[in-house]
Symmetry: C2
Subunit: 141 residues, 2 copies
DNA sequence: TATAGTGTGTATATACAGTATGAACACCAT
DNA sequence: ATGGTGTTCATACTGTATATACACACTATA
C-alpha cells in the first residue's frame, strides 16, 4: 500500500478540439452560450475526464470575444463541477459520475420543458397538440 | 345608409377583472411577465374585443410596481396589435382575427419548443425520451 | 541552479445596454 | 375645476462585455 498524493498526474492530456458556435444576435449572453455548449459536450461524452480545454485566451481569440467572457464561462462550469481550473496550467474536464450524467441531461430538458407546459396551459393547449408539434420538430432536423 | 365615424362607441365596456401574477425573483422582466399573461388571456378568449383593461396606475398599485413598468407592458401589447391604448381614456382589447388566434397560440409554443428540441439534440436525447417527460409534466398539473 | 520567457488563469476599473423607478406633464370626461 | 386617463424626462441599478495590468506554472538555457 502506498499513499496517493494529489499531484494530478492524470491531467496531462493534450488539448482537445471542441466545436463552439456563438451568436451575437442572440439574446442569450455569450458566456452562457459557451458554458451551455461545453456542458453538452461533457454530458454527451465527447469530452472526458482530464481533457484539457483550450485556454481562455485561445478560445477568446477564436470566438473574437474578450478573455473575460471566456473566463466567466469557465468559472460557471467550475462552480457546477464540470471543470477544474488551475491557475498557470489550464482548465480540465472534471470527473463525472456516469450514473448521474443521464439524469443531468434529462433535468436540463425537463426544466425548459416545464416552462413550455406552463405556457401551454395558459393558452389552453392540450398534450396532444403540443406533442404533435414536438414530433414534427424532431422529425424536421 | 349612414356614415360610421371612428368615435369608438363600442369601446365603452366596464373595466374587466384580470388575473396577473408577477414574480420578482424571476429572471424574466416584469413588463414581459405582464404582457405575456395578458396576451394569454386574450388568445384564450377570456378577454374580448372592447374590454377595458385596468389603468396603468391601478394595475401598478395592485402589483406594487411602477406605473412606467405597466405602461411598458401595455405598449408592447399595443405594438403587437392586442390593445388599443387611448390617451386620457384607457386601454382596450383590440379586435382579434379569430381564425388566426389558434395559429398565434401554436406559434408561441412552437418557438419555445424549438429551443428545447435543439438542446435535446445537443445532449443526444431522442423524441421518445422528451415526449415521455412532456407527457408526465402535462399529467402532473 | 538560477532566471528569463512564454504559456496559463486572475483582478481592477470602465463602458454600455436593459430594466425599473418617481415626478411632472398632457389629454379626456364630467 | 377636478379627477380620471396615458405620456415623457431624468435617474438609478443591474447584468454583460471589455482592455489592461497582474500573479502563477512550466521550461529552456546560460
Amino acid at each position: 500500500m502506498y499513499i496517493q498524493y494529489e499531484h494530478h498526474e492524470h491531467y496531462e492530456h493534450m488539448e482537445v478540439s471542441m466545436k463552439i458556435i456563438i451568436s451575437n444576435s442572440s439574446n442569450e449572453p455569450i458566456y452562457t452560450q459557451i458554458s451551455r455548449q461545453i456542458k453538452g459536450h461533457i454530458l454527451k461524452g465527447e469530452l472526458k475526464e482530464g481533457d484539457l480545454l483550450p485556454s481562455i485566451r485561445k478560445l477568446a481569440k477564436e470566438l473574437q470575444i474578450s478573455v473575460i467572457t471566456t473566463k466567466r464561462a469557465y468559472d460557471e462550469l467550475e462552480k457546477e463541477g464540470f471543470l477544474e481550473v488551475v491557475q498557470g496550467k489550464g482548465s480540465y474536464v472534471a470527473g463525472q459520475n456516469k450514473e448521474l450524467m443521464k439524469e443531468k441531461k434529462l433535468k436540463i430538458i425537463e426544466d425548459s420543458l416545464m416552462k413550455v407546459v406552463e405556457e401551454s396551459r395558459l393558452l389552453g393547449l392540450d398534450y396532444g397538440e403540443v406533442n404533435e408539434m414536438l414530433k414534427i420538430l424532431f422529425e424536421e432536423g
